[in-house]
Symmetry: C2
Subunit: 289 residues, 2 copies
């Protein structure tokens, strides 16, 4: 019963375990009208390794100790630009909390999922845009990237996985979809130009945003532990999450929330680090670290 | 003497072997005015693995057999959009060859490097833009990507490595840099909108473009084997190339050209495949395949 009401997402194509299966590809090929074209691409010897392929970027797999030691932190503002970044984040958060109803009433499972889905559709933007800007910068000025792109792409994919995971638990409505469309349209353009103007400011902004994300997920976990989210308390983590975070088969939604919170804490540290570092300095973060 | 005239690139910061060294990062930290900020980011336990980090995306490492069996191919046009794509590529190539002087006189090492550098600054754009569009699409419509992003990013990084490798052999002049700036400014915008309108057309276009790339590198190799590029014939492959393509330590520029040609042949096959496949079909290419 619980599973049926909260996990109806096959209808929009979100099926966690289908990720690497060649089945849909093969089906697509055989039912298509243009078999000649499709066969052309099926003959390549390098395509054989598909079945076992795991095409996710490397990303941190957290130890139990790391999962439980994530703390709400705040990096003190030092420069004017830090205050502007922190001020903007606080203002944005205040307005979002006000209009999304986070201030009023209690948060139940459904409200939490809506909030998480919405925020994660936004969270996937900065890393990807920054990666593209740095890539184009490297091509255009014919200089090296110094290893940032990989970390930025990791962050972008990680946020997208937060979204896809949350989507297996709740199907978004039409109003919600419209809000996501509008927000992304505005935010991508804004972020692209902001990142061209001041990458350091943008990373500081994300650093403060991720401080809020850690606080939000911590609040959700506290509510769960206090017994206020009974549906979450009994719910197994979705397949897609167990695969992605390499969690034990019997992992619960609580473990999922811990993993996401650790990711957010990591983005916080990485982005505050990038904000403090010259764009030409070597990225100190290795892949999956 | 040969090395001094053709590999003077340390001056613009292109030093192949510095890629993963933490030295420059440590130096940056210790000479910076803002030591407090820098220390903040140096204390993170996850940063330790930096020294051995190889943050490149996985990409095909070609066998000798594969390197030598790359052929100039042409995928026959079937639909009107194929003819338009092929026609545009042919027209672009004709004009580029005309204005860059490829038609007239003989190509020496320097002219080859200029041509390669220029084309590779352009070649890195489509994969990255396509990856970003698909990523944003997945966030915006809350659907899965079906595994394309990884392959697109691999292609983008691979093209950027072609550029960085060529740059270790020749330093670009001011006129050249200006041409690169203008071209990218126009091309990125054009490509972004084109990919929003018709991803399939864009992949077909890249497929035909890469057919030309294979032909170009094949011509270069033929000239080398005919003894018309004596500087290339004796030149060792740069460090950056030996690392990236995992080549033997005594690899030559000829081996480098073979590797790049194999990459281009691979992009050709991948893009023709993507062009023939529905955007929601699963990507048949595993990572590094
Ligand atoms: Fe997130
Ligand atoms: Fe985040
Ligand atoms: Fe290339
Ligand atoms: Fe290419």
């Amino acid at each position: 019963m619980l599973q049926r009401t909260l996990i109806p997402l096959r209808s929009i194509g979100i099926v966690g375990s289908r990720r690497c299966l060649p089945v849909s590809f093969v089906r697509m090929c055989s039912t298509s009208e243009k078999d000649s074209e499709k066969n052309w691409e099926l003959t390549h010897p390098r395509q054989r390794a598909l079945e076992k392929a795991d095409y996710m970027m490397t990303h941190p797999i957290w130890t139990t100790e790391e999962l439980n030691s994530v703390e709400i932190t705040h990096r003190p503002c030092e420069k004017l630009s830090d205050y502007i970044a922190y001020g903007s984040v606080s203002l944005l958060r205040f307005n979002f909390d006000l209009f999304s109803g986070y201030f009023f009433g209690t948060m139940d499972e459904s409200k939490w999922l809506t909030r998480i889905c919405f925020l994660e559709t936004v969270a996937g933007v900065p890393g990807m845009v920054a990666a593209m800007v740095r890539h184009l910068h490297s091509l255009r000025l014919m200089t090296r990237d110094h290893g940032w792109i990989h970390t930025l792409l990791e962050e972008a994919e990680n946020e997208r996985m937060h979204l896809l995971t949350a989507l297996t638990l709740k199907k978004p409505g039409k109003m919600f979809r419209a809000a996501v469309l509008i927000t992304q349209g505005l935010f991508v353009n804004f972020w692209f130009f902001a990142y061209l103007v001041s990458p350091n400011f943008c990373h500081r902004f994300v650093g403060y945003l991720e401080e809020e994300a850690v606080a939000t997920y911590t609040k959700c976990l506290k509510q769960l532990d206090a017994g206020d989210l009974p549906l979450f308390a009994k719910m197994p983590a979705p397949d897609i999450a167990i695969k992605y975070w390499k969690m034990p088969k019997d992992a619960q939604v609580r473990d999922l929330l811990l993993a996401i919170r650790a990711d957010e804490g990591h983005h916080r540290d990485v982005n505050h680090g990038f904000a403090s570092q010259h764009s030409d300095a070597t990225n100190p973060w290795g892949p999956g670290k």
